[in-house]
């Protein structure tokens, strides 16, 4: 029997489109109390850098209406530990596709991490929302020439894994950035990373987050993600992992109609650890209700034709 939830993400087949987003699933074992991760389409692991990082000062978390702000600052044990310890550990209980999320602060960083990671996971997802230390702190994801440069460099060393670029929404023209990434050799895109947001503590008269602004996500940003995915998929035929505010089966389907092939869930899975299994459970009934045979049939259905 055909699995009605299966989708083809570039060259990777997923048993369903649901993926916990990077930074919201640790290295795969933090949810073992809640459910068996083998039900997932894939898992995206915590953003990994060349060297281990302690991350930002606390507070790192603030609440917003229908969302949250985080300022983790990429705390992670570094690519070597991830490859030598975290991945083998994950393999002891998980056998679906893996997405390694790679961050860096220079092109060298990205290239070194990606060269080490290539072939160790089905997909390497490049997080380009980090500041470029050699470029006055401008993030790779907010300058098209910088983005093209890093994607080109990384593409050279990523020959076995698929290379997805996770774009920042904090830009004037998301389609330009998408086109830059794809022209530079990306196999696919993840849309969107967090927006920049800030909350202020009225008593302290100071931002809640120690670092000031942070990454804003959750259901609040869902309409921004949908519109960016729709805009990019309208312009470029490229596989997209949707990300941003998904909290229900109908959200997942809506994002797919906008053009996403798979759907990542971040913040919502932190506040409700059971949301992803519930979405996977509920999707078949929702498809029936909407008279859809194969979930793959809805991808991009809401694009003007």
């Amino acid at each position: 029997m055909v699995n009605p939830l299966a989708v083809q993400l570039g060259t990777t087949t997923l048993q369903n489109p649901l993926i916990p987003a990077s930074g919201c699933f640790g290295f795969g074992d933090e949810f073992l109390d809640f459910y068996d991760p083998n039900i997932l389409g894939a898992v995206a692991l915590k953003g990994t850098t060349r060297d281990a990082r302690d991350g930002n000062a606390t507070p790192r978390i603030a609440e917003t209406p229908a969302g949250m702000i985080n300022s983790i600052g990429l705390q992670n044990p570094g690519i070597d530990v991830v490859l030598s310890k975290k991945l083998p550990h994950l393999a002891t209980f998980y056998s679906q596709p893996v997405i390694l999320n790679i961050s860096g602060f220079s092109i060298d960083d990205y290239v070194a991490s990606c060269a080490a990671a290539d072939g160790k996971a089905e997909i390497i997802e490049l997080n380009v929302s980090c500041p470029n230390v050699h470029g006055g702190g401008i993030s790779f994801g907010s300058s098209c020439p910088l983005l093209v440069e890093v994607v080109r460099a990384v593409r050279e060393v990523v020959t076995q894994s698929q290379l997805f670029i996770k774009l920042s929404p904090n830009v004037t023209d998301i389609v330009e950035m998408a086109r830059g990434a794809v022209d530079a050799g990306a196999d696919g895109l993840t849309l969107i990373n967090t927006l920049l947001g800030m909350r202020i503590d009225l008593k302290r008269r100071h931002p809640v987050i120690a670092a000031g602004a942070g990454g804003f996500s959750g259901p609040a940003i869902f309409p921004i993600a949908v519109r960016m995915i729709h805009a990019v998929k309208s312009a470029i035929d490229v596989p997209i992992m949707g990300s941003g505010g998904v909290a229900s089966a109908s959200d997942a389907l809506e994002m797919m109609m906008a053009g996403a092939t798979a759907v990542q869930v971040g913040a919502e899975s932190l506040r409700d650890p059971m949301v992803i299994p519930r979405i996977i459970d509920e999707l078949p009934a929702l498809l029936d209700e909407l008279e859809i045979d194969q979930i793959a049939d809805v991808i991009g259905e809401a694009l003007a034709s």
Binding site: C24, E30, F34, I61, E63, Q75
Partner: protein, 242 residues
């Protein structure tokens, strides 16, 4: 093990100024030791609220919360029969030691998990001394119920309206060989400076998940940044190296 469970409100009653005890019915089998916490969904708010387990038994959970901001203010409107989702069984809790003269120190709403801790120590035949600090007499809670367990309880209030005038550090007993402390960070740091005995601190940090997935809640330890929700909330003095 932790799990997301549905609990039903049984009571929600004021016990001190801006302080309430919330009694809920549901599956408490995830809880194993005093000092653990739960993460409570509050209608209308995106993130859950982390609250220490004040007491529990099979089928019943007690939380003590202080109204601090909008979420805890909304909690006061939860009524008997209302249901809410709670991730239970979070955090390491206190590690019970064989200390001869243990001291329990609590400040403000940090007193919440100490009743269950005192009872546990007493049940093991230990005789904890207890020092609780509050701003003023009308904020005092749990002191009487801990006394009823059979422990001696000293109170310090900032305004002197009950017990010693001043902070918990002004009311410490002369002799103890170990401490268990929970309260605001400035109090914990003052306690660390004022003492040399070994002990454990229960920390607070802003949290998203509460179960170790987001790295939002770290504190600096001798082993680098550790998660307050997972490796903590209780850390030993040596781990924190305060």
């Amino acid at each position: 093990m932790s799990a997301d469970r549905i609990f039903e409100v049984a009571h929600n009653d004021p016990i001190a100024r801006d302080t309430y005890v919330l009694t809920l019915n549901g599956d408490t089998s995830d809880l194993t030791t005093p000092g653990q916490f739960v993460n409570v969904e509050v209608p209308g708010f995106y993130l859950r609220r982390p609250l220490s387990v004040a007491d529990w038994s099979a089928g019943e959970l007690q939380l003590i919360y202080k109204v601090l901001g909008q979420g805890t203010a909304a909690m006061t409107r939860m009524s008997p029969g209302d249901q809410t989702r709670i991730i239970s069984g979070l955090g390491n809790g206190f590690e019970i030691t064989e200390a001869e003269a243990p001291l329990i120190v609590g400040g403000g709403v940090g007193v919440a998990p100490l009743f269950a801790l005192a009872r546990e120590l007493l049940s093991r035949g230990q005789s904890p001394q207890v020092v609780l600090g509050f701003n003023s007499a009308d904020e005092v809670f749990s002191a009487e119920s801990i006394r009823e367990l059979g422990a001696s309880v000293a109170i310090a209030t900032v305004d002197g309206s009950e017990g010693t005038a001043g902070f918990v550090t002004d009311a410490l007993p002369s002799r103890f060989d170990y401490f268990y402390a929970c309260g605001p960070t400035p109090m914990l740091k003052a306690l660390a400076s004022a003492t040399e005995q070994p002990g454990q601190f229960s920390l607070e940090e802003r949290m998203a998940c509460g179960f170790g997935a987001c790295m939002g809640c770290v504190t600096n330890t001798v082993d680098g940044n550790q998660r307050v929700c997972k490796e903590g909330p209780v850390f030993s003095r040596e781990e924190l190296a305060w």
